[in-house]
């Protein structure tokens, strides 16, 4: 049997070829009775249609959640979800929160020190002490 190399599957890197927005769905929950939902209700009436029209790639769901604070939830293509409680917020503030969820990647927030993350092999190879000339200092 001939020797076969290990087959590798190309890792998905969003944005190299096609780009899919990580946020795939947004849920807007509100309450008709509670005062903390007042800003949310006016956001749903006034700003949400234009927001949904500007972002056709995001599925938008609006559902009541009685006797609870209003919540905006984002669902992401990595399977995670982010929820922001928007009680007592003005419609403009809720719009900013919705934009934040739209642009987020869905990953858990981490503090990273290196700006570049790469899965490519090193272009110039790995240094070896057994190859190359003896360098004069």
């Amino acid at each position: 049997m001939p020797v076969q190399g290990i087959r590798t599957v190309a890792a998905a890197r969003n944005g190299v070829g096609a780009f899919i927005l990580p946020c795939k769905r947004m849920d807007f929950h509100y309450c008709d009775w509670a005062g903390s939902s007042r800003g949310m209700v006016s956001f749903l009436r006034s700003a949400l249609p234009s927001f949904a029209k500007a972002n056709p790639q995001i599925e938008i769901r609006v559902s009541p959640r009685p006797h609870k604070h209003p919540v905006v939830k984002g669902h992401y293509i990595n399977g995670r979800e982010k929820a922001i409680c928007v009680r007592n917020l003005e419609p403009e503030q809720i719009f900013n929160k919705a934009n934040l969820l739209k642009e987020a990647s869905g990953e858990k927030l981490k503090r990273t020190k290196k700006p570049v993350t790469s899965i490519n092999d090193s272009v110039r190879g790995i240094w070896s002490p057994y190859h190359g000339d003896i360098k004069t200092v």
């Binding site: 780009f19 987020a104 990647s105 927030l109 790469s118 490519n120």
Partner: protein, 254 residues
């Protein structure tokens, strides 16, 4: 320096684009580079080539060439990838650079340039706001700031680089390589945020402790391609071969 290294926002692509039959068709037609043909990159508006002649963005608009691939695209898919500047709204078009003189390359550089181009997988040290980032195609880059006026999906072109290299060859700028010698594109993937930071501020002999909070936001990029232009492309775009000292040097690894 900061103002001159500002990136040019080029265009926003539709999110739902998929590598459809049009891109495959294009890949079979041209055999120049494998990386740039397989990705549905917009080519004409983002390349620095024809812009050197025109400083007026309205002069660059021209009719898209009627190709079989364009006909297929219009028939099959409703979403189109903007390939020419006429598809892009005016405010999204890249700013024309102000080049006073054509690109000058020495003949010694042109001798080694085919070797650099042919040796695949390049790295580039791209500078954004005077900070260097060593990246290759496909890398994920988290800028240490929130870039203004960009949306997820936008393609920007990194036009300032100090080093481009392959395994054995290195093109070094003095201090920067002319932006007409390479193409490096990145796509804005989104905005990331760090976890909330808490810092306790105290004063001496005071019991009061003030806690300040901060939460920075960062723009994330994905490097789409790193391409060094060939000698033919440089000459076609108006490069002049000169003798003497050059603005960039090409070195072989010893």
């Amino acid at each position: 320096m900061l103002a001159r290294s500002i990136l040019r926002k080029a265009l926003a692509l539709p999110f739902e684009q998929t590598p459809s039959s049009t891109t495959l068709f294009r890949a079979t037609l041209s055999t120049t580079t494998s990386t740039s043909t397989q990705s549905p990159n917009p080519e004409t508006p983002l390349s620095a080539s024809p812009r050197a002649e025109f400083n007026d963005p309205t002069q660059q608009q021209h009719q898209p060439p009627v190709t079989p691939s364009a006909a297929i695209r219009s028939a099959s898919t409703p979403y189109t990838t903007p390939n020419t500047s006429s598809h892009i709204p005016i405010h999204k078009q890249p700013l024309p650079p102000t080049f006073e003189s054509p690109l000058k390359v020495t003949s010694s550089l042109l001798e080694l340039l085919p070797h650099l181009v042919a040796q695949r997988s390049h790295y580039i040290t791209a500078h954004v706001h005077a900070k260097p980032y060593l990246v290759t195609a496909g890398d994920h880059l988290r800028l240490p700031f929130l870039m203004a006026n960009v949306q997820p999906g936008d393609v920007i072109r990194l036009n300032r680089a100090s080093v481009i290299g392959s395994r054995d060859f290195t093109l070094k700028g003095k201090p920067y390589i002319d932006e007409r010698m390479f193409e490096c594109r990145a796509r804005v993937v989104g905005v990331d945020s760090e976890p909330m930071r808490y810092k306790e501020k105290t004063k001496r002999r005071q019991r009061h402790v003030r806690t300040i909070k901060s939460k920075e936001r960062y723009t994330m990029l994905r490097i789409m391609d790193v391409k060094v232009k060939t000698e033919e492309e440089l000459v076609k775009e108006g490069a002049v071969v000169v003798e003497g000292q050059d603005q960039a040097t090409l070195e072989v690894k010893s």
